[in-house]
């Protein structure tokens, strides 16, 4: 080998170093793509959603507080009838009610699994929860439509469609999410807490209630918020059982609508760029912002309640 060749071999990068560089760049591009996608989603939906208020007589306050949703028609003063309050009420109604219903069941099941009968829980309850997570949402919707809606119709009268039916369907859908997060919160409570409490003469229930549940509260809250986020964003299962009437819900069994149900049934029937269409994108923006808010809430609970 002459000097030039040796010099070239020593000063240029080895095959390995080139490979390393290429690998690092490729994997970085993948991660960059995901971040760009997140920004693009927010940007595109926001541009469409804000267009509703630009150059029209619709104001944000009217949009959020009026109850008449009839895109394409205007009221006496020429303002388009775009009041999203019925959908907002519907969305929050089903979300809060289903979380309220699911929480005691989820905590009960999680306590049973971690504190009372871990063996039975591990063998039966854990697979049951895993399977419930895996069932597609349209199947829940179909069962809601063919079992829950007729049941409500026969028991309470009316059509059976409405917030109550949506609540039942969402209850079963978010139950596994909340339960499995509560289980991990309970498992994170150190064993010595329980031992200390039992050594003081407390019964098992006193230990669970006064020690274990108290110290797992932040984790349990996080689970509930995650469940609510899932319920708020669920589209098809709810759309199938809620009745799809953009009216203020009078009671739990009158047909109602949610942000997601109006979106799924409406986007295909409006012309891109029209006010009716833009109003739907505003609803999508609202959904996006709510999911962001749930995210922030989870973070806040996590920071506030972290065990030090």
């Amino acid at each position: 080998m002459n000097n030039d060749e040796i010099k070239a071999a020593l000063t240029s990068k080895s095959r390995s170093a080139k490979l390393e560089r290429r690998g690092k760049i490729i994997s970085f591009l993948c991660i960059a793509l995901i971040v760009i996608a997140v920004f693009a989603i927010f940007a595109f939906v926001a541009v469409r959603g804000i267009a509703t208020f630009v150059g029209t007589k619709v104001t944000l306050w009217n949009f959020l507080s009026k109850t008449a949703w009839a895109p394409g028609t205007t009221d006496a003063s020429g303002v388009p009838k775009l009041g999203a309050l019925p959908m907002i009420t519907g969305s929050f109604g089903v979300t809060l009610l289903s979380a309220l219903l699911a929480t005691p069941f989820a905590i009960g099941a999680a306590v049973y699994m971690t504190e009372i009968s871990p063996k039975w829980g591990e063998k039966i309850l854990q697979p049951v929860i895993d399977l419930l997570v895996g069932i597609p949402s349209v199947v829940y919707g179909f069962i809601g439509l063919s079992v829950v809606v007729p049941f409500i119709r026969n028991t309470f009268g009316g059509t059976g469609f409405g917030i109550l039916a949506g609540t039942f369907v969402l209850f079963v859908m978010i139950l596994p999410t909340v339960t499995s997060m509560t289980i991990s919160a309970l498992k994170a409570v150190p064993r010595r807490y329980r031992e200390a409490s039992l050594a003081l003469g407390a019964t098992r229930w006193q230990t669970i209630y006064k020690v274990v549940l108290r110290s797992a509260t932040p984790g349990i809250l996080t689970g509930i918020v995650f469940g609510m986020a899932r319920a708020f964003g669920e589209a098809l299962a709810v759309q199938m059982v809620i009745g799809n009437a953009a009216l203020m819900p009078k009671n739990l069994i009158s047909p109602a609508s949610t942000l997601t149900s109006v979106l799924t049934s409406g986007i295909g029937n409006t012309v891109m760029g029209s006010l009716e269409n833009n109003a739907l994108w505003t609803l999508a923006l609202l959904l996006l912002l709510m999911s962001l808010a749930f995210n922030l809430l989870v973070r806040w609970i996590g920071n506030k309640g972290a065990m030090k």
């Binding site: 693009a40 939906v45 069941f105 009960g108 099941a109 009372i116 349209v138 999911s291 995210n295």
Partner: protein, 294 residues
């Protein structure tokens, strides 16, 4: 009330709650399988659906679901691999990394209908792909990427650091260490993550309604030209999947046997998802045994 009685009552209540949850799942599965399985026949699984008459099948929808799943996985797995490797191996703890993690978390918690609408705006309208399998696969990729990335990152992190040190000590670059040592070791975890993700993608409908479309044109299974609209492997044709079909016939369908068809289709959907679940467990354990010395 005395403490011991309270303890007994509480234990009883908790036991009842656990029982109720098991009962809910049992009745859900029982209902779907009892009503749906009698509908399933070779004819039902292979013949095309009918819009107005009874006796339609789900053949095309089933094929579309599988094909769409395949395409979505082909696109999302390499991306998630790259992203997972970067997060597990290269990213240093800093605010930039935190930011990336937050972005992934937000993407994973977005409602799937919003992801679908974004896909409609970008892929269907902006890129002019129309309602097509390709648009659907890209939307599903967005839906699948965050969870898959997190799965892969976790699997890679489980690999002990000594393995990496051994690779580096032998003179391998970090990238080679990851490809040759860390990934094979983490493979069981990665595979079960992939299969679970596949189950999730297979049952997804909200992200597909406005991307892959709601119609299932007839397919000619002798035509293998990917550019032809009637070819089963064409990525440019609209494709209604099984999950979308169930939603569609229940919300706006007019078939006289809509209930029977959706019961059968639901049963097929659940059976496939259950298969994916068992497969994930089985493959994970099997691979672990085969690759490691244990």
């Amino acid at each position: 009330m005395n403490a011991k009685t309270a303890d007994k009552i509480a234990t009883g209540t908790l036991r009842a709650i656990a029982g109720i949850i098991v009962l809910i799942l049992a009745s859900l599965l029982g209902y779907i399988l009892l009503r749906g399985v009698p509908q399933i026949s070779w004819h039902f699984l292979t013949s095309p659906s009918k819009a107005f008459a009874a006796g339609g099948g789900i053949g095309i929808q089933l094929f579309n679901s599988l094909y769409l799943l395949l395409l979505a996985m082909i696109i999302s797995v390499p991306l998630a691999m790259g992203a997972g490797i970067y997060l597990a191996e290269y990213a240093k703890p800093s605010w930039q990394t935190d930011f990336v993690r937050t972005a992934i978390e937000i993407l994973s918690s977005l409602p799937s209908v919003v992801v679908g609408l974004f896909g409609f705006l970008i892929f269907v309208l902006q890129f002019k792909m129309g309602f097509s399998i390709l648009s659907g696969a890209l939307a599903l990729t967005l839906f699948n990427l965050p969870l898959l990335t997190r799965n892969i990152e976790d699997a890679l992190r489980q690999v002990s650091f000594a393995q990496r040190e051994a690779g580096l000590a032998l003179g391998l670059s970090r990238w080679e260490t990851v490809l040759r040592i860390v990934i094979p070791e983490a493979l069981p975890g990665i595979i079960s993550g992939l299969v679970l993700g596949a189950g999730r993608v297979f049952g997804e409908a909200a992200a597909l309604i406005y991307t892959a479309g709601q119609s299932a044109p007839a397919l000619d299974f002798t035509n293998w030209n990917p550019a032809s609209i009637s070819s089963p492997i064409s990525p440019f044709r609209p494709a209604e999947t099984l999950a979308v079909h169930i939603w569609k016939i229940n919300s706006e369908g007019i078939q006289p046997d809509a209930a029977a068809v959706s019961a059968g289709a639901s049963a097929v959907l659940i059976i496939v998802v259950l298969l994916f679940n068992f497969l994930a467990r089985y493959l994970g354990q099997r691979l672990h045994k085969k690759i490691t010395a244990s």
